[in-house]
Point group: C2
Chain length 127, copies 2
């Protein structure tokens, strides 16, 4: 029934990184991890469900913040060990810091420099 899950190369922990990319702007928003259950649920529900390595449980993205990710497409790479999701980011904020995306630091003059503003105070997101 779910043969397509067996065709993937899960790592020793049964996980795989998943890149979430904004389906319109092409911006890479974040990277999180999925296990088989997370990917199966994502596919079935049409929304991003990850595996939280720190909390060791399924992470229904946006459950607390409302910042869900609607799934437009799921891709896998040649080695079948990285997923690429095209998502519609509800609320326009993917990062827990309140920014549009997690990649808000750029290497410049030998330093990591933040070049993206906080759209919403995290305290307001996670009440």
């Amino acid at each position: 029934m779910t043969d397509w899950l067996d065709e993937l190369n899960w790592n020793d922990d049964g996980l795989m990184p998943a890149i979430a990319q904004d389906f319109q702007s092409g911006e890479v928003l974040m990277v999180a991890w999925m296990n088989r259950e997370a990917l199966r649920l994502s596919s079935e529900q049409g929304r991003a469900v990850y595996w939280s390595r720190s909390r060791r449980k399924l992470w229904f993205k946006g459950e607390e913040s409302g910042h869900r990710q609607r799934l437009r497409e799921i891709r896998v790479d040649c080695d079948a060990d990285v997923l690429l999701l095209q998502v519609e980011q509800i609320g326009g904020i993917a990062c827990h810091t309140g920014r549009r995306r997690c990649f808000f630091r750029v290497l410049k003059d030998g330093k990591w420099q933040t070049d993206e503003d906080i759209i919403k105070n995290p305290d307001e997101i996670y009440r």
Copy 2:
């Protein structure tokens, strides 16, 4: 001198995934791994240098194939454990299968379906 390398959260193997994104089209081309040396060299030389986990050595992307990646930008995410590279893909082929990008399979009707053509025969790339 290289403090910015110390600010990153390398995994237990001293590695970190790096996403290569086409700086013009925004297309996610591939994901590979870097260690400190690979990232330092990438930054210094302005080209993508990865760490090959299978060959256990530095992988100067394009050394054999000519398909180098000129670096336009290096970003890191909020957890400082994933890199995002904006690259100019020389030759237009990032994947070792001879395709433009590694993410050439999409989940459709419960199957992984290839929707991207081989531009160049791999035998011609790796002579």
